[in-house]
Symmetry: C2
Subunit: 110 residues, 2 copies
DNA sequence: TGTCCGTTTCGTAATTTTACGAAATACGAA
DNA sequence: TTCGTATTTCGTAAAATTACGAAACGGACA
């Protein structure tokens, strides 16, 4: 980018790693189905992919994609209990995302 | 969808309007540049598109797109003060998104 | 071994997002 | 009216997202 040459570095905005991380978590929350899944999992303990598949008006393969996005974002984790897979919130990253979000909204409370 | 016919409605997950609304706000936060802009605007008072353009390593047209996404999400608003446009946080919707996010994370504090 | 079950991966398609430069717009000032 | 400044819209392209059904997979069990 030409700008990186013509303008001193100190004048370039530094997008912090916290901001990039927050954006990543926000992306995970950017679909109603994923918000629903996370809300469900954060309230109760865990649940099976099949439970969600029966209840949600989307194809199983589509649900699977949403679950793997949440997994990639680190917000949930799956435990293979043949023949089912039990999904739970990843508490550590859940708290991390909460912390970043609070920080973003200027809430220092924890 | 066949599922809507073969399974009684009461067994179908209801994705609430709050969840859909939260997903919409989360989508607005799902890019590092937009997180940066919102953080900047929420801390200080307001700023001009040009201020951001000089500081961010992206094309002005790209910045404009991000700004209009934030506008469409209702999180910022622009005031035309020729020849510049002053952007500020939309406090009402900012608080609304904060509220939904707190609710989502199980924080009833406000 | 073969079969069933729950789930994911594959193949595909439509739509949206992100990005850029060039052109258009809106307005104040010369 | 013409010029200059600040910003957005247009045209375009590449990549990512969302969605589906069909096929594949891994393990339990007959």
């Amino acid at each position: 980018m030409a700008r990186l040459v013509t303008i001193p570095e100190s004048d370039i905005a530094t997008i912090t790693s916290d901001q990039t991380e927050l954006a990543r978590y926000a992306k995970a929350l950017s679909h109603p189905v994923r918000v629903y899944i996370l809300t469900t999992l954060s309230k109760q303990t865990c649940c099976y992919s099949g439970d969600l598949a029966e209840i949600l008006p989307i194809a199983r393969s589509t649900l699977s994609q949403h679950l793997s996005e949440l997994k990639n974002a680190g917000l949930i984790q799956g435990e293979f209990l043949p023949p089912k897979i039990k999904y739970c919130i990843n508490r550590e990253n859940w708290e991390r995302s909460k912390h970043l979000m609070m920080q973003f909204y200027g809430l220092t409370i924890e």
